[in-house]
Symmetry: C2
Subunit: 796 residues, 2 copies
Amino acid sequence: MLHRERSVPPEYIYPFDEWKMIERRFDSRFLAQSETIFATANGYMGMRGNFEEGAPVAYNGTYINAFHETWPIVYGEEAHGFAKTGQTMLNVTDCRLIKLYVDDEPLYLPTANLLQYERTLNMQAGTLERELVWEMASGKRVSVKSRRLVSFQHRHLAAVQYEVTLLNAKAPVVLSSEMAYAYHMDDAEQDPRKTRGFKQRPLSPSGGSAKDCRILLSHKTRNSKMTLACGVDHVIETACNYSHTLSRTDDSGKSVFAVEAQPGQPIRLTKFISYHTSRSAPPEALRERTDRTLDRAMRDGFSQLLEEQRAFLDDFWSRSDVEIEGDAAVQQYIRWNLFQLCQASARAEGAGIGARGLTGDTYEGHYFWDTEIYVLPFLIYTEPRIARNLLKFRHSMLEKARQRAREVGHPGALFPWRTINGDEASAYYAAGTAQYHINADIMYALKKYAEITGDVEFLHREGAEMLVETARLWVDLGFFSSRADGRFRIHAVTGPDEYATVVNDNTYTNLMARENLRFAVRTVETLRKDHPERFTELVDKTQLEVAEVAIWKRAAEQMYIPFDEKLGIHPQDDTFLEREVWDFENTPHDKYPLLLHFHPLVLYRHQVIKQADVALAMFLLGNEFTPEQKKRNFDYYDPLTTGDSSLSVSIQSIIAFEIGYIEKAREYARYAAMMDLADVGGNVKHGAHIASIGGTWLAIVFGFAGLRDYDGQLSFNPRLPKRIGHVRFCLTVRGQRLQIEMDRSQVRYSLQDGKELTIRHAEQELRVTLDAPAVVAVDDKPGAKVRSRESSARRR
Amino acid sequence: MLHRERSVPPEYIYPFDEWKMIERRFDSRFLAQSETIFATANGYMGMRGNFEEGAPVAYNGTYINAFHETWPIVYGEEAHGFAKTGQTMLNVTDCRLIKLYVDDEPLYLPTANLLQYERTLNMQAGTLERELVWEMASGKRVSVKSRRLVSFQHRHLAAVQYEVTLLNAKAPVVLSSEMAYAYHMDDAEQDPRKTRGFKQRPLSPSGGSAKDCRILLSHKTRNSKMTLACGVDHVIETACNYSHTLSRTDDSGKSVFAVEAQPGQPIRLTKFISYHTSRSAPPEALRERTDRTLDRAMRDGFSQLLEEQRAFLDDFWSRSDVEIEGDAAVQQYIRWNLFQLCQASARAEGAGIGARGLTGDTYEGHYFWDTEIYVLPFLIYTEPRIARNLLKFRHSMLEKARQRAREVGHPGALFPWRTINGDEASAYYAAGTAQYHINADIMYALKKYAEITGDVEFLHREGAEMLVETARLWVDLGFFSSRADGRFRIHAVTGPDEYATVVNDNTYTNLMARENLRFAVRTVETLRKDHPERFTELVDKTQLEVAEVAIWKRAAEQMYIPFDEKLGIHPQDDTFLEREVWDFENTPHDKYPLLLHFHPLVLYRHQVIKQADVALAMFLLGNEFTPEQKKRNFDYYDPLTTGDSSLSVSIQSIIAFEIGYIEKAREYARYAAMMDLADVGGNVKHGAHIASIGGTWLAIVFGFAGLRDYDGQLSFNPRLPKRIGHVRFCLTVRGQRLQIEMDRSQVRYSLQDGKELTIRHAEQELRVTLDAPAVVAVDDKPGAKVRSRESSARRR
């Protein structure tokens, strides 16, 4: 059940286009959210869709993934084992600025008389473009075209091209290309999800240079001891006369071009921008690296950048696109969602994916389970290399997870609920450290990765090590309860739903822990039997004793899964059903999200759900539930679920599809896809909801197409809702590319790449080869199950 | 079960004396704790037992009750309804200082060659005295005698008399009497119970004056906008020649007497000290008030102060003393405990009683439920006027409690878990705001106060108003559960035991809430029937509707009280018994208190108890339990109880007495009495544990003597443990003073004041009149129940 109104923007905001997000009119009401929607990023760096002119601006933002400052977390009341080190991804030096003055008048959109205006995020080209014609009070008309990109091909490079043409007169034109580090102090707005301001500026200048058209600036953080270098270089192309000046301070640089503009003569300024940080190079080498990146960009030029960008995205779309016919807007929404996944992950390399990608710094730019549960499935099925990187990144933090387990009082490893550098940064343990399920979530993603990619190498090295340490944690955390016939119980944990914290036997957690334990047992036993060298390595790294594995096995076997016989449902936790049901009827819309209006204790004592919890378990481990249980669980929990978290509707959609509530499923899927574009949460201005974005892909692939992949076996059970005519997408499975194409009459499974794949469609087993696609006829009735009929592949 | 070692000090520390705490040798190991043990206070102001010379010093402390600074509570992660305003009782300007220089050598105890040394807290005189003889390297011997007091009679006055005599030579002597405000910055020690340092000095100077021998200083707080004025004046008496200089800065003052000391000629400096704050007078009047207090003190002189102090204490002891024979140390310990109760409460007037009284600023000087549950019984039975003041003080914060209820989402009133100014100051709601039982605790104390004193007036005005608002909160907080046959359940609350937080149906809370509701119903119904005018007043103040009372009644009737049929015990909360039992065997002594060594989640998921919870319910509402239940409950919970809180052993002692575990009871009572003197918690240096101190009195009166006073009916069931020969104490009941005198052969109940009182002794009803005491013979066997024999009173 959704308790939010979505706000539908006027038609000049995001009019329908298959490949573009367009804004046809400047409208200050949408300024803040457009900065998120039009953000450009490559997973390494991100720039919000702020205007080149620097104003108007709502939230100016430039971020380098994982470039962060640390700070001591202050507690009103401290307790043992509380997380100590806060981490905040920093808003760094803004290098995009190109300020335009004509006749000394600045271009300022809110007051400018704009004869034309269009801004476009081109998702095929990977560029943000803007074209406008400005008519000045003097009657002079000025055409301004800009185009910028954050390069996917060149991780450290971005570029802006800014072209000004006086259309009907001549005038002095000044193009002031600037870079500026400006620190914004703490504001008063109190939203626990927002990022924290610092009392002191987190970045201090550490030198720079300015020569010809190039400026370099360098900054250092105070506590985390990280260094950032950024540089810009310029090319100006014009037939008009111009002069150039260059200046620099500690925190800023200016390259000013004063042009005697002639009518009809374009003035084109190209600005190359590069960022390097001490995460990837020694601090003293950063300026040299920046120089080198800029040298190459100057040599290759802007058009080559554009070509490479297009080529990169062609490849991305060929692997990742989801084509949809029938719901026009949905196609655009989905592409924007997929494009965000690309922008958040493409060049993360050695870093994670923040809860808002690189479009905002909400949640301090921290990495959560969102990555593993909501984003990794997409990457595993479309770009396994990146999925591997992200799992490797988790593995790189294993030592800190071991330390954290010690701090909290456990053997093994406890991955941080939120982090940048591997240290737990959650300052509210009830909805932080208590979410032990993070361990199982990561191992779940590992399992899926290994099964779908077949990357046994990674599983047997990094994977096995993480499995051992997480399994250790689970058996220490829980206990064999004498009061419950020796069942293994896990107490005082928080499940995915943060409106119920520190509970006993959260169904999701217990199921996921069992899966974690089982997979650890299986993996260790496989190594011991079949890969003695790997096993020896593992024992070396973990001091594993064989007796431990027997305990994991017993804990998994004896795992207590709450079930209420009377209602025939799985209680979200052992006492969830004891609680009073929330009074939804008397809760007005403006009281959502509830967390901003009610004390946690009030939420905790009611049956009210922030986000899919049992529903998520039914998705991830659907094979542990009967169809009847799924239906009863969904029927029970759906009305209690507020969707106050953006991580919810996509999962609710998938389960609704599965149990046949097709229209509800479609509605939820739409919500997921529109989460940011229709600003469902009211906070898109602070960044794109990457989990919901990943969830949108999940809703299509696991919802519409009904993919299930328990233990690596793919099965489909597609159900097209009304209005959706045709869906096509690809999945990469063990190096082979499978295309799924569904319409009202049939589903077509074809291999684009590879040799042969055996999958299931509903009850049928299908063998798909490169030559022989499998085609299954389906009932035309919207949402109906596929007819059980021999597939064309089989019939041949 | 106690998991702590107590440290027994050497014999020169607190050697046995019935009325004095003595220190026979300066020992720096005991410096910090002696500052607490030798603290002097009157409930309005308190001075730690720091030496006049200013050094050596561990924690210098001067406190004015309720004089505090506020600060915004910072949360790592904020949530709705979290307490916003921290409050810290300030360590104010130190006015005690008298530095001694002989031949320009300062007296510094750690290095001085002391031929004699004795420091004494005289609990009959109400003074802190010290006598020493200092032999200098030159062979000169100096006698130094000092005596000081914080006046009980004159709320704003303290005084020090410092007498120096050169014994065998002449020498220049300088007595530098100083006052100084020194702010100590935040130290690194991380103990959540300690007070917070400020980043900026909380007190800013706001003027002063210096004239003749008088210095006045004034300071203001930054945020709470409170003003403090303090002043000193001096009298010097000596036959020697001397000169005097006076000086003042913003933060300090000095009155220096340079004396040409002659052998055998005493030099006696008397210093009067006064503090006034804007809590009791307009800021601009404070200096005048201070002048007036000093004028009076100068006129009356030190000896009159001493006389008045003695008179005040004679009266106190006549009402409050507990005489014990048989356990020599225990008599001294008990007197010290009683004296602390006097020092913490005597002149509180318009303020509360902090968790450490005025002996330290641990817990920021906040007021907790300690006052109502641990201290008020003593005051109700010995000085009801002060008990009334404290309840009136709670009532004065009712409006803030109403606001707080709104913030947390309830109607009615929610008293703050910890506060100085009425605002909730608990920054950790799980062991703060969630302790809703504070409401019932206060109402419990109100009920006892009304029943024992017969003060119907207070009950019908302030009391009834608080009863209505607290009852409203309870019925909103809980709900009639359809899953539990319509029983009234209270979820997501924390009981007294803070090692289990945010639980469902805490037995203590539910029982106490029921008592609260019943008492509210009864009081409102009485008013409606018998006091229509009062009832109208009440309705005016609370907008009470008659229908509300019916719901309170139903909630009380339907209150769910967890009970485990199998074990025959009351679970501490609804799922307490589901938890894993703490592994006490493998927890070394140095891991206690557990809260300093384990993450809260680890504690919360185990059966391990910080402090009496079900046991406390069995004491406060013993009539709700059968004797068998009490025994089974005690047997179950006692081994799980760490005593990590100082609020525990006294209660465990009382229940142990009741169920006949006499030696265990005695041991626990000793622990309570010795809590501070033997430094059981290892933190006496930070202040005296006022709750445990109150608990010591409870352990004697409700333990040894077996007093129970359900609904105001007094009954006794005395049981003397081995080694205790004789116990005598008085109780003031409805204006009459009842003396109880127990020895091995009989118990004697006599009326010291009043006409007639009917009490019970075990199964017997006894009528005691002024002329006719009741004497009951008892079995001589230690701990045996009284023999059921006609009382001498009856036989007459």
